[in-house]
Symmetry: C2
Subunit: 180 residues, 2 copies
DNA sequence: CTTGACCTGTGTCTTGGACACAGGTGTAAG
DNA sequence: CTTACACCTGTGTCCAAGACACAGGTCAAG
């Protein structure tokens, strides 16, 4: 599990080579033309929160959020208390973001991860959950579509109507006369 | 402003006739064929929260919510502390519900009501706000549409794929192999 | 008198983070 | 060495529009 020699195409993008040298104590060894980074400070290629966030294109707050709810379980540097995110955390977060893109809720994702953590196939759960979420999305889609049409029609109708001052019975004639 | 003789087609639906006799102390006067309800207990045709809610097809919690944030300002019965909603409150709530149907936020509605309460035309504000809200709705519509398509495509693709047990690199191949 | 339906105010919950805050840490410049 | 500044920690609060809960008061019917 512990690698001292990182295969960048395996784990992360090529950017890693430049990134990793930022604040870590990694050293460039050898004199060959393709310098290879060896991590000396962190046993498992760990990174800090902001770096983790940057690698996956999210904010540090997002990483902290998933840490807070225990989807990510980084280690802790004993000397300074900083959290250390491993390759496993990276994989989990990448998974979480993919699942969010597919409309799964965070709670769904926790359920899926629980299955996977017990080495059981999460696929049946995934299939069941996406059916539910797709139904809800269809529902929201229909509602949003209808709302959009109502609003568009209101704008069109209102363009023909004058402004008015409110009366005892009418607060805004635009809104109240828009029957639908 | 104070009416002792309610014109039901003016203010409320015909249902009011039956409803009003529920818990109030109204009396049916006269011997004509169309009995007319005269309210004796409440000077301004006031009703209690649940009745107000029922008349507009919302829950009592919704009425309490708009009361809490001071969009509705019912009077208070001195003897029992119950809130008394007037015709004005009814008109305001009906307006609020119409505006919500058109995608205005509660804050928008407060701004609109502030104008109207100062006898100024809220129409320019209404036109400006609906442009904003319509833009946001178009945005959400596009996002919901895309999400729906992604989800639908996932369901289709996944129907051809088997379940799998997670590995060290892969939590759920369905989600992670769904590249898009 | 009791039951049950209604009423009150207040507080908390919902989503997926975003933002704030108080205080600790690491590093580079002066 | 000091100081500045960027980074880190945990915790708490906020968002929208109500929904729900809770403790206690009120009212009419049986
Ligand atoms: Zn480390
Ligand atoms: Zn799977
Ligand atoms: Zn009254
Ligand atoms: Zn108007």
């Amino acid at each position: 599990m512990t690698k001292s020699r990182i295969n960048s195409s395996d784990l992360l993008s090529g950017l890693e080579l430049m990134i990793d040298s930022y604040q870590g104590k990694e050293q460039i060894l050898g004199v060959n033309l393709n310098p290879v980074i060896v991590r000396l400070s962190c046993e498992e290629g760990c990174v800090k929160v902001i770096e983790m966030a940057r690698r996956l294109g999210v904010t540090a707050d997002t990483v902290r959020f998933y840490t807070r709810i225990k989807i990510l379980k980084p280690g802790k540097n004993k000397t300074n208390g900083y959290r250390e995110y491993s390759e496993n955390d990276y994989n989990r977060l990448r998974f979480v973001l993919s699942a969010r893109q597919l409309g799964f809720s965070v709670e769904d994702i926790q359920e899926i991860l629980n299955h996977a953590d017990k080495k059981k196939s999460p696929c049946p759960t995934v299939r069941r959950l996406i059916d539910q979420r797709l139904n809800e999305t269809e529902q929201r889609f229909a509602e949003t579509l209808q709302l959009r049409e109502r609003m568009q029609q209101a704008v069109v109708e209102w363009s023909q109507k004058p402004d008015k001052v409110p009366t005892g019975h009418m607060i805004c004639h635009l809104i109240e006369e828009f029957a639908q």
